[in-house]
């Protein structure tokens, strides 16, 4: 069974970083053979919204956000890696490694 993560990305303007971070995470996850669902909280609204089941399945949550995560009560009780939106754009593989390590703790 593959490892599974969930993530939320958000930046202040919600048009550039949010989606760059999403792409970077998905690409790195694919290369590392990890399944990841990424929710984007951008200017046009919430994309690929994570539902209750997704939250349950994800071993850890990555918050790659510069602003407040909307509806963050969904993730109550989960292990959360709280980082800047620019971190996955710089090195997404490290972010995923960190999230997996957090999940193993």
């Amino acid at each position: 069974m593959k490892r599974k993560l969930i993530a939320v990305t958000a930046c202040a303007t919600g048009i550039a970083h949010t989606y760059m971070a999403e792409k970077a995470l998905r690409k790195a996850a694919k290369e590392m053979d990890v399944l990841i669902k990424v929710e984007t909280q951008g200017a046009t609204g919430i994309g690929n919204r994570l539902n209750e089941k997704d939250v349950q399945i994800g071993e850890a949550v990555i918050f790659a956000t510069d602003t407040k995560v909307r509806d963050s009560e969904r993730f109550a009780g989960k292990k959360i890696l709280d980082i800047n939106v620019s971190d996955p754009i710089k090195d997404a593989k490290k972010v995923i490694k960190d999230a997996l390590a957090l999940a193993d703790k």
């Binding site: 303007t13 970083h17 399945i57 407040k68």
Partner: protein, 373 residues
């Protein structure tokens, strides 16, 4: 502890700014439409009451529209204050934050006043949520009564009697100081604003400079806005041009990003330059800062005045002294292009590093069955 506190603080402020931006854009552009429209009739004070009863229906409308712009901009401080507070204390923070934000707007205590009221309201509300423990039957008294009423009252008292006055004085002092600036100081100011805008391409430093410049528009201070609007588009245009002139110096991804960046620059979005800043920040950021500062200094120093918060090309010709304005953009962009090409070596052609492709039209890269297995 202290480092994460500052990171939290930044997050709260960025959240407030992200909710404020659409309000500022709406208000400022409505106002710009009215003022640019009015200048076609040779009117320079469209906000004056006398135009409300003008025989020309278009002029009447332009006057009304200016008022709408003012209404929208009046929401700027309540919104940023309310959403900073929301970021800190969740839903319960919004009421005290917005109410105190209206007081900030009325007292003319400016951007700093709004930051203060948002933070005070948010932390007050959070403190109450965390520390007031009532018996189960009365629990709902906290969110429906105590936080809205006491939270607002405490914040309002602190804004009205403690921080509001000094910030209002600072704000009006700043506006009149900026208005009175001439010669070298004016050019220096433009260069500083330009440099701040070019520094992080839509990040906190950029947003602080741009929103302050836009807020000053309402006080009739135009130079910071002129500088900011010039600076916004210089990095994306300059870097885009560099990829077009010599694509050997960039990776295939950056060449793609360069075209998009150039177009985003023309329509006034500085974020197009971000991929370059991420790839080699130590080269790109100083060049952007100098290029933006240079362009802003030229435009403002030689007398261009942009009264609208519009940086895209469709706004260029509404600028007073527009040829000089365009010259500023051109020189700044040319500096970024030239300097970038000078410091970059030819890109190493990498072994097909795009082996991993993701389908951007899909939300996920696997099936629901695999996810749930």
């Amino acid at each position: 502890m202290s480092k994460s506190f500052w990171k939290e603080l930044e997050k709260h402020i960025m959240t407030g700014i992200s909710y404020m931006i659409p309000v500022v854009i709406a208000g400022a552009v409505l106002m710009a439409i009215s003022r640019i429209g009015a200048s076609a009739f040779g009117i320079s004070n469209i906000w004056d009451e006398k135009w409300a009863t003008n025989s020309n229906a278009i002029i009447q409308f332009l006057h009304t529209d200016d008022g709408w712009g003012g209404l929208a901009l009046g929401l700027m401080f309540p919104i940023i204050s309310g959403f900073i507070s929301y970021s800190i204390a969740d839903k319960g923070g919004i009421a005290p934050g917005m109410i105190a934000g209206v007081l900030v707007a009325n007292m003319n205590a400016g951007f700093l006043g709004a930051l203060a009221s948002g933070l005070i309201a948010g932390y007050t509300a959070k403190f109450m949520f965390d520390h007031i423990h009532l018996p189960e039957a009365m629990k709902s008294v906290v969110p429906v009564f105590l936080v809205p009423v006491l939270g607002s009252l405490i914040t309002l008292i602190l804004i009205q009697y403690v921080v509001g006055g000094p910030f209002a004085a600072l704000n009006s002092g700043l506006a009149s100081w900026l208005k009175s600036m001439t010669g070298v100081n004016k050019v220096l100011l433009a260069a500083i604003v330009g440099g701040m805008v070019g520094f992080d391409l839509g990040g906190p430093v950029n947003k602080a400079a741009v929103t302050t410049a836009m807020a000053l528009l309402t006080s009739g201070v135009y130079d910071p806005n002129t500088a900011a609007q010039v600076a916004i588009i210089i990095p994306p245009i300059g870097l885009g041009l560099a990829t077009i002139i010599n694509n050997k110096k960039f990776s295939p991804e950056l060449n793609e990003a360069g075209k998009a960046s150039f177009i985003m620059g023309l329509i006034g979005v500085s974020e197009g330059a971000i991929p370059f800043a991420i790839e080699s920040p130590l080269k790109v950021i100083p060049i952007n800062v100098v290029g933006s500062a240079l362009g802003s200094a030229i435009a403002v120093g030689l007398g261009a005045v942009n009264k609208a918060p519009i940086s895209g090309f469709y706004g260029w010709f509404a600028v007073d002294n527009w040829p000089i304005y365009v010259l500023g953009i051109f020189v700044g962009s040319a500096f970024v292009t030239g300097a970038t090409l000078l410091v970059r070596k030819n890109a190493v052609v990498e072994e097909d590093n795009s082996a991993t492709e993701i389908d951007e039209d899909q939300d996920n890269d696997f099936s629901e069955e695999e996810w749930e297995s």
